[in-house]
Symmetry: C2
Subunit: 204 residues, 2 copies
DNA sequence: GCATTTACTAAACACTGTTTACTATATTTA
DNA sequence: TAAATATAGTAAACAGTGTTTAGTAAATGC
């Protein structure tokens, strides 16, 4: 019965079509303005059809969130070639910040919005973040082994590094850096500079 | 004409009534579930009446946001009595983190949500945050003068400290700390521990 | 060829923020 | 004091939202 396989394929294609449209609208107009009716109109189907392929709006944005993590992960792991673990840590951090600057809506969805978290609660393991965070743990382990950074608990250090870069970019993404009263470019420079200072303080 | 004064007073009382109801509902059910109709029902007026006292929903939450800043500011400035500026910095940081743990919805409104920022864009100066951030700058200046922390640019250091504690608590508030796979109490301990490590790295 | 399953949709439900047109009361003016 | 005006408040509507239900038309299985 090749029909079943074709049907399965068609089902997946329809899911992809919805995700593609939703991603396009999301990156163009943001989460709130990306309504089920907008997506439906864009793909030329009725709104109810979308519910045959996704449980609810959050499930659509859960898939987009997963795709975004795949992109970030790919960017971060490019630095695998950097031999010195401290240099690698620095490169990873800068790439993380750059990713947030260049993809603020993706960053928002991955690390700030509540939307995709409903799904994750039912999954008992957040693989997408586990993967990226695992890479940080791995890099920090190498830093400790080679005594490149001050000795401390691995997980506490990892939380410290992640929280720090997240703090920088999330204040930027959610427009709290406006207190600096600087043009956007200058703010970004301060953030990169602040990260450099953080790294210097971390050094053994 | 004492009538005009009474009218002014009544207008302010009505605004207060709306803000009180909105704050109560917000802290009980969150932003999304606090609708204009809910507030109207709670204060026993029609929804349209609220628009005679506030431009829109965001303006209501802007006032709540200002009140929340007043509370945080009061908490932080309690540490004015701590003579040693580094000790004061540590106390301020811990109180900031504690505030976020104890008032996650307020914290969200102040530092994460987009709602109050629409108003702030029209104000050209964000006094509430300016006040709190000013206290941090003041404390850090004292730290530098007494050579308690590593020499660096004042603003870059301030952004570093603020971003760091914000990163910690915003990942917690928006439920990203779930990757630690720990009970809530243990997560909070890790966050406080991470802050201690950060301070140690900052020390001169 | 007929029964059944599948794919899809129009319309409705229960909400949301916000505006408009209208009423009843309070205040001011003649 | 009586008429004119200003103020306070509201019912109903507008334009949206996510989601569900009931019903149709086409594809598939027998």
């Amino acid at each position: 019965m090749a029909i079943k396989e074709r049907k399965e394929r068609e089902k997946q294609e329809m899911r992809n079509l919805i995700i593609e449209s939703a991603t396009h609208l999301f990156l163009k107009q943001g989460y709130d303005k990306t309504s089920i009716r907008n997506i439906a109109e864009d793909i030329e189907y009725s709104p109810a059809t979308i519910y045959l392929y996704f449980k609810d709006k959050d499930e659509i944005f859960y898939v987009i969130h997963e795709n975004a993590f795949a992109i970030l992960d790919q960017e971060l792991r490019k630095h695998d070639v950097v031999a010195d673990p401290f240099e690698r840590l620095a490169a990873i951090g800068r790439t993380y910040i750059q990713f947030a600057f260049e993809n603020p809506d993706y960053y928002d969805l991955m690390f700030i919005m509540r939307a995709p978290m409903q799904q994750i609660k039912n999954e008992e393991k957040w693989e997408a973040l586990d993967c990226a965070f695992g890479y940080l743990l791995q890099t920090l382990t190498a830093c400790f082994e080679e005594k490149k950074i001050r000795q401390a608990d691995l997980h506490v250090t990892a939380i410290m590094v992640w929280s720090y870069v997240h703090g920088l970019v999330s204040l930027y993404v959610r427009e709290r850096m406006c207190i600096l009263m600087m043009p956007d470019d200058a703010v970004r420079e301060v953030l990169y500079g602040s990260f450099d200072l953080f790294l210097a303080n971390l050094k053994a």
